[in-house]
Symmetry: C2
Subunit: 360 residues, 2 copies
């Protein structure tokens, strides 16, 4: 029997920062997927009820929910919306179509791809076995969510061992579960941290998501603009730079929110350690940077803010959502199975798993 | 007789981008200082009429006008507002008080300091000689504005020699006159450029001021967020990185809008040349980084965007307005007297002046 949160009593859900509670991510509520609308944070805690696959796909595309692992949970439940509760003739086709729609929301997302593959297979297996296909999909998403929490906690314990009481650290974008658990573990072990959160244009996840999570985890949070991190490193204000990674390649190359690369280069120049948190290790199918396809998103994001146009007619915008950082700029990659030098990240696969039933 | 623009017929004022026309900076209009309000650009072309020294000081403090050289012209005319048109007993005191108020608007501004010193001296000299002190101040500001334009054009010709037709270049913040004249000189010599303008948080000068100036000078402009420049260099998209500098030290260290340092570090890592435009050369009183005092501005700028609060209560902000880049990250410093390696910037003083009557 897996508990709802998956943390086996280590933390009670109510004491967690909002964004790593189940309610702060995505939940199955009987006949719909309920998603916390991150676009309106930190001011409004609004929830979006998704009744169709299309609702969930649009929630991902509009940044209502974000974060590679978090949105994969929403997508898992989303697939349940297209899956009947008893074996039907066209079930395979229906499930495949829904999985394709959800997969297109993030072409580079591996966690998403794995979740959809596992959930589709579960639905089809259940149908062949004569049991409830929809329930099988929900069970897979529940299991994935619980396993992700335990993996993140394992990662956080390794990351916390790299930090000292009083450290000022820099992060970029919202580094999600592993980072927030790191803050909780730091507090539990008596460390007070000060986190510089780069605001992260164009969606301002640093100001809107990271900074409040830092406060909720009991540490100090200071927002800076995306141009300031290197200067703070130069001034000796940054004990470590920590981010998540959307993908880690087998040669130690990482892919993360655009802006990461500049900070990583500044970190190496200033001898500031850069720790990448990647709870499930490298992608076995990505050998190096050539296997990463950078997603360019709508240029309008660069030309307006909050509905107000900032640049005049005739000016273009360019929005690569991610960038690529070679392993030479990374001090360590912190996973649920331990801390690895980028050049040794393949050793992850030989290390003992932290969670026996990981899905994504 | 100096023409109004100071360019001796090289360019007609009407063909210049708005922000380097006299009307786009600051003008004396008989009894007041008229300033283009840059806060409302690019959408509204509003002008602010300043009737008192305090009006001008607040215009500088609120970013109604910006740019080290440009605001020094406004300050010169501002001093005229406190200067009587005939010798009076308390003239020296009145002028000194006004100069102090205007000087406090930008504690690090050398051009401002020099303008105020020259204009104050002119007022006092005129009073002692029995002529019109106010007119003497206006004349100094007129001369400074004209000399700045010619210095900028001389700088631009050197900078243009470093660029090739078809180049894609990156700039940060609004690099002001020298940069805009470089774009004009490039077009005049048959070069088409594509300029990546980093939007430059928190005031978005890149989107609001630089991008429209690039279009007005006849080139392509693309806005990116402050986190993207390094990635574009890594991808081989940036032929050169160009900025202005608020100060150049005698050892080749430069001080410029925060964010410059990260780009400079990424430029060196990617072997992208970084050219600093500094029309009047180094500051003879600044030996190295220790002589630079970084201005920290209101943290609220980091916590809201366009009047909307982005971070929740309890979160702090930090806003160093400038950062410091060592000469090792700079390929060349381009001045009105030629192109110098950062380590040789002292040679500027031995080179022949481009303008005989520079004030600031």
């Amino acid at each position: 029997m897996i508990d709802r949160l998956g943390l086996d009593g280590e933390y009670r859900e109510a004491e967690l920062p909002l964004l790593i509670r189940r309610a702060g991510m995505a939940e199955w509520t009987g006949d719909r997927v309920r998603i916390l609308d991150r676009k309106h944070l930190p001011h409004d805690e609004r929830y979006l009820d998704c009744l169709t696959v299309e609702d969930v796909a649009r929630a991902i595309e509009t940044m209502t929910i974000q974060g590679a692992f978090t949105l994969s949970i929403a997508a898992g439940y989303g697939l349940a919306l297209a899956t009947p509760d008893r074996p039907l003739a066209n079930l395979d086709e229906q499930v495949d179509l829904a999985a394709q729609r959800l997969g297109r929301t993030r072409p580079t997302g591996l966690a998403l791809k794995r979740m959809l593959a596992a959930a589709s297979a579960a639905a089809k297996d259940a149908a062949r076995a004569g049991s409830n296909p929809r329930q099988a999909v929900i069970d897979i998403a529940d299991r994935a969510a619980a396993a992700l929490a335990r993996q993140a906690l394992a990662t956080a314990r390794h990351a916390n061992s790299l930090l000292r009481n009083g450290d000022e650290i820099l992060t970029h974008c919202f580094a999600d579960r592993s980072f927030v658990y790191t803050l909780l573990e730091a507090r539990r072990t008596g460390k007070q941290l000060h986190v510089f959160c780069s605001e992260t244009r164009p969606y301002l996840q640093g100001a809107r998501l990271t900074a409040p999570s830092v406060l909720q985890a009991g540490h100090r949070a200071t927002v800076i603009s995306d141009g300031m991190g290197g200067f703070l490193m130069q001034q000796g204000r940054v004990a470590a730079f920590l981010t998540a990674a959307d993908r880690v390649c087998l040669d130690g190359t990482i892919c993360n929110k655009v802006g990461t690369y500049q900070y990583a280069v500044s970190a190496r120049t200033n001898n500031t350690p850069y720790y990448v948190l990647r709870q499930s290790g490298p992608d076995p199918e990505s050998h190096d940077a050539k296997d990463i396809h950078i997603e360019y998103r709508d240029e309008e994001s660069m030309l307006s803010y909050n509905g107000t146009r900032t640049a005049p007619e005739g000016v273009r915008g360019l929005y690569p959502a991610f960038d690529i950082t070679a392993g030479e700029f990374v001090r360590s990659i912190v996973t649920d199975r331990g801390v690895f030098a980028p050049g040794n990240i393949r050793d992850y696969f030989a290390a003992p798993p932290s969670v026996p039933d990981a899905v994504v």
